[in-house]
Symmetry: D2
Subunit: 309 residues, 4 copies
């Protein structure tokens, strides 16, 4: 057996990292906004890496993208107009377009090169979504787009990178921004967002985002899925004025999937919904007691820096 000599080391905390042997490097470079790698792992297949962090992997991107899109979409009685913030690979858009009710899906992504690289090297991620007649791709900062738009959407899907200081996302997770988003939701309307690590040792940001959303929406639900290529249980949040995913019944979900979604889902169904929204006791306690609120950039926790070894 040949030696593994090329490794992707993903640092997740100052003193924790994961090593993936690579069999190929498809692309390595910098866009205007971030550093990008597209690599080949014998375990996870093609992986998209931005600024050293795994964004999605061929083996399990369906888990992430089905979790982000379908619970929120099926929660809405008939989602027609959807806004996606971020989501450069196009897989979130792909899942949205599978819903028969969709008439228009706008994706606002700051980094055009990510979209181009994804189309070229990760074509199964978007699977034609970018050229679907219902899609509209806007290359703009998500905050700028929202502030200048007067439209309303049935669903807003936040697929942004995490709000670290000095990144494009640093002001896209505050109370103020959540109010902006609420003001762009139709009635009924649903906001869903990827919401960072949801493991016991890295639960802070998720918990704070959960509490922050509660300042703006009466119904806020945390859920999570195990994403092996992230080496994490990954958190999501659904927020709404009217609609509550905890009210969805398993058999109803299975029926809605049949009725409203084209093709077969691999991850999500009624029983999976239960697994997503059932929260172990110790995490519920943390969420219940959370008092921290992100009011603006000044509340952001700095990314751990310093020397790793």
């Amino acid at each position: 057996m040949a030696r593994n000599w090329q490794w992707y080391i993903e640092r997740v905390m100052s003193c924790e990292a994961h090593m993936h042997a690579l069999t190929g490097t498809i692309y390595q470079g910098r866009t205007q906004f971030q550093s990008v790698g597209i690599v080949e792992s014998p375990v996870f297949g093609r992986m998209l890496i931005i600024d050293g962090d795994t964004q999605s992997a061929q083996l399990d991107e369906f888990i992430y993208h089905e979790s982000l899109v379908h619970p929120a979409m099926l929660l809405h009685p008939i989602p027609q107009e959807v806004l996606i913030l971020g989501g450069g690979e196009g897989a979130t858009l792909r899942e949205v377009l599978r819903h028969r009710s969709i008439s228009r899906a706008i994706m606002v992504e700051i980094d055009q090169e990510i979209v181009n690289l994804s189309q070229k090297y990760l074509p199964e991620w978007s699977a034609g979504a970018f050229s679907d007649r219902r899609s509209e791709i806007v290359f703009q900062d998500a905050g700028e787009y929202i502030r200048n738009s007067s439209q309303h959407f049935d669903l807003i899907i936040s697929d942004l990178t995490e709000p670290f200081p000095d990144t494009p996302s640093s002001n896209l997770y505050s109370v103020d921004f959540f109010y902006e988003l609420k003001n762009h939701l139709s009635s009924p309307g649903v906001l869903v967002m990827q919401a960072s690590y949801a493991d016991i040792q890295q639960f802070d940001l998720h918990s704070i985002l959960y509490r922050t959303a509660q300042e703006v929406f009466p119904i806020v639900r945390s859920f999570s899925a195990r994403i092996p290529s992230f080496n994490a249980e990954w958190g999501f949040i659904i927020a709404s004025q009217e609609l509550d995913p905890l009210q969805m019944q398993e058999d109803e979900i299975d029926r809605l999937i049949q009725k409203r979604i084209n093709g077969e889902l691999r991850f999500y169904d009624g029983e999976t919904h239960r697994s997503l929204f059932s929260i172990p006791r110790y995490k519920r306690k943390v969420l219940e007691k959370e008092i921290r609120i992100l009011r603006g950039e000044e509340d952001l926790m700095p990314v751990e820096s310093g020397e790793v070894f």
Copy 2:
């Protein structure tokens, strides 16, 4: 900030590994059977490492041990006599003894030194369980013990290492051995076992054990919990002639916990039960289609060896 210079690198597949910075090494040596490390991680606290694999960590051992013990214990109407195979740290025994109905708990562990080291360096794991008057510790090979015993138990808990070739556990997971275990169960009786990785990229052994148990027991249920220090979703299996954990209701579980268990649980309750036993769609498909059965050592998959880099 000081550099991290000491690392525990846990290989989990030939081309995947995890790096934990260490702030201390409490113990490093070999017992008669295996190599042992007890280390200090700033994230996971004390960690017990056997043959290079994480066995349990201070931060999240409660997740593993509560998952292994309480669903099976509460499934049984009134568990009094329990047999634990393996479980050297003593935390499985600790959780068993919290159940008020227990009159006798026998733990059969091949490696006495692991027990001694755990008592010395990881005292919170056993928390006095070894000296509980209901406990009986036998230092013997689990297979040998079972073959020479004529006792029956309400519960058998298999907390053994995985069945890799040339390890003490290599013949403790076959159809034949499961028959042996069934013959030592009372009626009603429950077998629960730790059952390896349950992530998409490392699902084989779990799936095979699930199918293997089905050769012997009419009711076999797979469940899993996210254990961050294992960098994994970890699988468990409950098998029984009569009792089905899928029939347990959330509020009933919450009531039983109050009634039957001393102290407060951190991980397990009704909602957690739902999260443990809800299986995402793609894994259910794999389990349904599994046909491989472990009939004996010859069916074991070799541990990946070869050079890692």
Copy 3:
């Protein structure tokens, strides 16, 4: 500062390895004979990696190639015909061709793809040497070539990979093969070879090769240079019937360089010669006491295998 996420980890012993962050992967694949990587390191520039081992790097290949070629070439009164075994990158050939006396340089390399990849991605290594009218490139096993050739050479330069079992070089370092080489040397003639690690903790193979050459040649000299990209002091051996590099005077070397070599050298000159051939006391002791002789493949030390972590 951006994180380093892509690393080349070069294992050098079962429990020693070196990590180089990479900023690019130029090529990654397999030839008929070996796995090949061409990568970009911010420190060492382009690096050629074969079967996980660094072959040469942009920053310091001049140290390796000047050490291998010039002392032996200047030792010979007027080298005209030279045979190179291995040396796929073309840099050994490049250095040979700088000597004005050279009329013919034959390079015998088993792996044509290495030559092609080097010309394409590492053009400065060969710097036009492959198309020099004095060069002749033969794609053949070096042993086969030698056995079938009746030519004699002023210099034979062995730039082969190390004699590990089951590699193309496994039988190209024995007493018998050294006799073959001697029989293809003119009189006077010089054999020079790269001769593995020459550090205290990895001195065995070098020392054995040194002793093995003494079975065949009356004059055998060990020398070494520090090659940072190899993370090693690297050993070489000069063997001859008549000529002794220890007799060369510093100022004579400086004069010969002026007279016989085109262009300027970066590494080698009189003082450097002294540094190459001065051996610290503890290594001299090891070389003096060495009794092991490589008589054939059966004497080869196995490459360390087993699991690294």
Copy 4:
């Protein structure tokens, strides 16, 4: 073969690191001044690690300490009083005391705990030197000691850590400090110092220290030895008003060793002297062209920080 799971990763540049598997951790903690590890490597034996950097290792500390001490000691006609700055392990002192002419050796070390830990865990390093009647150990900052002392020494040996900002050594390598040292030398007198990495990719600090010493001393010589446990060619500098190590003859050195040193040396002798002081051409060029001078702390290059992966 068992897996290696515990590793010492020594970062040497932001994008270069070395991995040593460990079989034991003898000590891990912090003194008043620095973090300390004493570990066991199967290759290098016991290793002393300060702030993540290897200080010395059982296998090859003789190379470092003989290089630091003996050339300078033998250069002096009859060294009687010697001052050592730093050198906490005691091995520099040990080598000094082997010289029969020594009547007094003062060692000034800021960190008493390093001395205590070394005596306890690395007793062969000092080998009784601390209790030799000629030894005097002062626990004080080296700069403070020098400024307050009116003594003169035949030799001053600087075995300090490197002058990184915000470390105890940050002001112990400037022109001013070298003047202080010169003022404490007898006539004739010799200053020798460890002088950082001397490899092509990490030559800056060595080269600057060399140039800085030239501001103060008429004779300044760079020399270097390969120290495998440092993964480096390691630089030293000898500076003097009168005495030049390049004038020492090989056979004279061998005679002086016999005459003036107790016991047998493992590394240093006449031929080794030649290897230490012969500088490859490309490094000589760098040293000749160097113009940077360390005038004080403001000239220090910051330690590379930032995130490593």
